[in-house]
Subunit: 327 residues, 2 copies
Amino acid sequence: MRISDVAKHAGVSPSTVSYVLSGKRSISETTRRRVRESIDALGYQPHAGARSLASRRSNVIALVIPLREDVHVPVAMRFAVSVTTSARTHDHDVLLLTQGEGPDGLRRVAGSAMCDGVIVMDVEADDARVPVLRSLDLPSVLIGVPEDVEGLTCVDLDFAAAGAACLHHLADLGHTDVAFVGQPPSVYERRTGFAERTVAGYEAAARERGVRATLHPCSPDTARDVAAGLVRDRPDLTGLIVHNEPSVAPLLDAFQELGRTPPELSVAVIGPPAPVVPPLTSVDLPAEAVGARAVQLLMDKIDGLGGPGVTLLEPRLTPAGSTAPRT
Amino acid sequence: MRISDVAKHAGVSPSTVSYVLSGKRSISETTRRRVRESIDALGYQPHAGARSLASRRSNVIALVIPLREDVHVPVAMRFAVSVTTSARTHDHDVLLLTQGEGPDGLRRVAGSAMCDGVIVMDVEADDARVPVLRSLDLPSVLIGVPEDVEGLTCVDLDFAAAGAACLHHLADLGHTDVAFVGQPPSVYERRTGFAERTVAGYEAAARERGVRATLHPCSPDTARDVAAGLVRDRPDLTGLIVHNEPSVAPLLDAFQELGRTPPELSVAVIGPPAPVVPPLTSVDLPAEAVGARAVQLLMDKIDGLGGPGVTLLEPRLTPAGSTAPRT
DNA sequence: GTGAAAGCGCTAACAC
DNA sequence: GTGTTAGCGCTTTCAC
């Protein structure tokens, strides 16, 4: 089943079928309909390899997913699904690259023309893949923001604004002593962009508002200790910002056992709304929007449109019962 | 940069370069070396589309990942990563299909020759994709086992054996009253193979051993109620089997508050070892092994080797401090 | 052990 | 608005 079979069936030339499919030149309404009918009748599907050979377009994008222990998998998956779904609306498929392949994976897919572009997740401040991307002339979009963004196209949530939004929210409620429970230490050590920027936004806002503000890296299994340490050392603490999805539940449990429960201890979280009752004041992480935007930007680049630039999506803080005015 | 450039550089014909790359005919050691050197010197990489057009092999496999609310994402991701990594060792890449595309996604990638085969995850007892797979003559491997396995190649953990192993372990310790806390109700309603089989194995073993055994679907937000119900209605309960990864922590917390802690209440879990201290007696879910096996089986099918069949990997129960003899 | 050349199925000039 | 045709870059017969 090839394009010439469809052409014969419809009584037109192969190129006409091709143009009906691509819409790259105008076709009379009658011809278009006849061709469409033949395509349906025969169940024709173009051969992807032949198409990519002739058109120099694979209609595939690559997605590099993170695999680190300290990356919250469900969030990564939300990005991946969003990218895949969005790509389909642009008639592209998604090739999965694991971070384990590193820069070589990028060279491989670029060199063999397996994909038209690549989306890289979990970008660090000084990411080894960035120089490779610069040298590769493969259209790319980063989800995350490295230190040097020269020539790159990046998308992310405005994490600095998210950190600031939480602090301003608490400051507006009268809190003057706040702690920030963050990502596992390793995340800061490898200088993951989003984590650094969140803290920077939080600390800047705290200075601005004259709020006492400290930082406490955390992971689910150290949550208990972090809570105990805060209760012991910070008697005046009334505000808590948590930027660590899987630690939210253990942290709240620990604080509760220590006699501190929201909203007496006002808690705001940065991340997907945890399915806890009652709901928490939170800044959502719009993975779907970020993924869709990344795909859109990549499609533009593939089509030679748009230049480099950093797109930061505005965070939205949703107040809930876990934060209240200081008493 | 094409194969003919490499051929010229090495002073051989294009076909010789092709054969050096594919190993499909014998090449003299000297020629092989010269060609290899030219390939390295020029940094040649074959064009994937051209290759797939000429050879009718894309060297890509598709992977359908589940996206359901009730599927535990980190486990699904472990499968996906294992499949991707294994595929690379067989010189294949992985195309991501979301479950949202359903049967049409399979038809699409099969019809356009985008991939040589497909691996389908999260298979249900009566799965809509199975008849499509049967009609498609696209090599496929299912991770999971549907009701009718005629003509299919399936891999999975032997969940029936896992359920039985937990019960036998508890029975060996003298427990005679056991409860099984399972997946969310929706998982059973849509008849997901692995959940049904686990329960079946558990119940059969319980009958065999004369143990009182009941089933309790659960999700993280109903864990508290499930625990309360069991404490209230089952005063003689001393054994618990949990087949619900994200509910383990809330469940144990709830039981603790009700005065029941391991190993007085002996708890065994089916799933990846939870990072809790002290560790729990558990049956591991060998996602890596299952993914690797699925890829191996698929590669064999693509090469025309091996027939249909169901491969069940033996579970391994690792005893730990959460289970103890009944007192 | 190696080379020549005929496709693989499609796209996009070019021609009308 | 439509048809003809020359590639796209590789694999694989066929021939030696």
